[in-house]
């Protein structure tokens, strides 16, 4: 089962995460990602017959918040953590308009 991850799959995951790697880096990372997946794969050996899937770790159901608006008053602090800002907005590299 080890190192079963095709290199294209690793490249695809990197692309979805908008990460760019050299060929050399991708070789190394494909190997590392494969061994992580192999480790997680061992979970499949556990017998889960009849066990309900766990969506959250608490047993709470219907924990909902009443619809009341609260201003954080943290705009300046939040913007101070952005790498670059302009006119109260977050400045990012130009978005090549592929989505909308």
């Amino acid at each position: 089962m080890s190192n079963s991850l095709p290199r294209e799959d690793a490249a695809h995951v990197a692309q979805l995460a908008k990460l760019h790697f050299s060929d050399q880096q991708l070789d190394v990372l494909t190997g590392q990602l494969a061994s992580i997946l192999d480790l997680v794969e061992t979970l499949n050996e556990v017998d889960t017959e009849g066990v309900e899937p766990t969506y959250t770790v608490s047993n709470n159901v219907n924990v909902l918040r009443e619809d009341l608006a609260v201003k954080s008053g943290q705009k300046a602090a939040l913007l101070a953590n952005a790498p670059e800002t302009q006119d109260g907005q977050i400045k990012v590299p130009a978005i090549i308009d592929e989505e909308s």
Binding site: L16, D67, E99
Partner: protein, 477 residues
């Protein structure tokens, strides 16, 4: 042309009018300064915990009920993963596996009078993304105020077979949602957004044609025009022996055509998984009943009531229920004592003309149901003539009190016989020909004489009283 059939599916996003966001208590308020309505949850800071807004979930339940859908009893939230600057968490919380509503329908009235049912596949509650603006100078700016605003996404079945049906579906959907009160459903303000899927295939083909997705449609009219263009484009491609590519296109208004945005390779890979930070939801019968009891009266119910209780025509009832504001305004005007038929005529006529002329929404005018009802009562009790009422109507569009306006401007209708009778005698003396005509059986003569009286009183005489007095005076001659 008729050798092809068209399949259309629509995905409509509705922005909910909640006070706070779907998963954080930040305010939802359009038009505030950028990033004013954001907190650490909206920015996707590490270690923060979201909390689900009850009103957002119930908004989804209301939409489901309005669209005749089943409500899922066990709902959990899912993460849809994608990386984009307007999406700081790098995932959107949605209901991919357990949509709050499923298997509903909308009934549209076809031009031939037939009713057609368009299936609703599902409805999910989810969160909106922030807003990017593109400078064109090598950078973009991100405002996260909209990030986390609750949405309901409504996915139709591919039951729509023409651009006209798509248009009728969108109109009906907007009305159904608007009458629940959960959203303003305004395309131009972005509180209703439409994504289109369309494919064309030869009649009798076993499989659907390759579907093309169209974005950037911002009015119902554009949706129809887009579909008319795209339907034709796909037919022509197929007839020329070409294949349709799986692509995303956008409508270009100036050229009335669709432009290729990108070719899709393989399915989108959003790597959905259940949201571990939000507890699951169980919806009981009692909860559904409670939400249903809070739903305002639906448009169809109001149409029925207006026809049976007030004797309005189906056409007039339909006009009054085109928007929730208009229907509510009508109900309030009647509740304030106005005659329903007169109130309906005023809203359909003068009020609609005023709204068209000023390009205002009813709730943004100075018109009130109390003032309109007062105006109508002044006509009905004979205080003012319908001609004078025109001036009073202009006054109430400026927010003036009708009674006070009438008093201040001396707009009181002339109904006093002791003042009208001498005038009428004089007019009869001056119009012997009309008197003879009337005596000779020409009923039309009385119309002319009434007109003369109205003219000499500058339209201030009470036509009903004038008519009675004229008959009385004529009988004496």
């Amino acid at each position: 042309m008729s050798s092809f059939e068209t399949t259309i599916g629509l995905e409509v996003h509705i922005e909910l009018k909640t006070k706070s966001k779907a998963f954080s208590p930040s305010p939802v308020n359009f038009g505030d300064p950028a990033n004013e309505n954001t907190n650490v949850i909206d920015w996707g800071y590490p270690g923060v915990l979201p909390s689900a807004n009850k009103a957002a979930l119930e908004g989804g339940m209301m939409a489901a009920l309005a669209l005749n859908a089943q409500i899922s009893r066990d709902v959990h939230w899912d993460r849809k993963n994608y990386v984009y600057p307007d999406n700081p968490k790098s995932y959107q919380v949605t209901q991919q596996q357990t949509p709050i509503g499923h298997d509903g329908y909308v009934e549209i009235q076809m031009p031939d009078g037939q009713t057609k049912r368009i299936g609703i596949k599902e409805l999910h509650v989810e969160e909106d993304a922030g807003k990017n603006s593109h400078s064109g100078k090598g950078y973009s700016l991100v405002d996260l105020n909209r990030q986390g605003t609750p949405l309901v996404e409504i996915v139709s079945q591919p039951d729509i077979t023409s651009p006209e049906e798509a248009y009728l579906y969108l109109e009906k959907l907007r009305q159904l949602i608007q009458f629940t009160g959960i959203s303003d459903v305004k395309m131009q303000e972005g509180s209703m957004r439409v994504d289109i899927n369309i494919s064309v295939r030869p009649i009798g083909a076993a499989k659907f044609g390759t579907k093309v997705e169209i974005k950037n449609v911002n009015s119902f009219q554009y949706a129809r025009n887009t579909l008319i263009y795209e339907e034709e484009r796909q037919r022509e491609e197929l007839m020329a022996g070409h294949t349709i590519g799986q692509e995303t296109r956008r409508f270009d208004e100036p050229t009335k055509s669709t432009i290729l945005m990108r070719v899709k390779e393989g399915a989108d890979d959003y790597r959905y998984f259940p949201e571990p930070d939000l507890p699951p939801i169980h919806v009981s019968d009692a909860w559904i009943d409670e939400v249903r009891s809070r739903l305002p009266e639906a448009a169809a119910t109001r149409v029925h009531r207006y026809m049976t209780e007030f004797g309005l025509s189906d056409k007039d009832a339909a006009v009054l229920t085109q928007t929730l504001e208009m229907a509510n305004f009508f109900d309030q005007t009647v509740a304030n004592g106005a005659d329903p038929k007169r109130a309906a005529n005023y809203l359909i006529g003068d009020v609609n003309a005023y709204l068209n002329e000023t390009q205002l929404d009813l709730q943004n005018t100075k018109l009130t149901a109390v003032n309109l009802a007062e105006l109508i009562k002044l006509i009905d009790d004979g205080t003012i003539s319908t001609k004078q009422a025109k001036k009073v109507f202009t006054a109430i569009t400026e927010g003036k009190d009708p009674k006070a306006y009438v008093t201040e401007n001396g707009l009181v209708q002339l109904s006093d016989p002791s003042k009208l009778t001498p005038m009428i005698s004089q007019i009869l003396d001056n119009n012997q020909q009309s008197v003879d005509d009337f005596k000779g059986g020409k009923d039309r003569a009385i119309g002319y004489l009434t007109g003369q009286v109205m003219k000499s009183t500058h339209g201030n005489a009470n036509p009903k009283v004038v008519h009675e007095l004229l008959l009385a005076e004529l009988s004496k001659r």
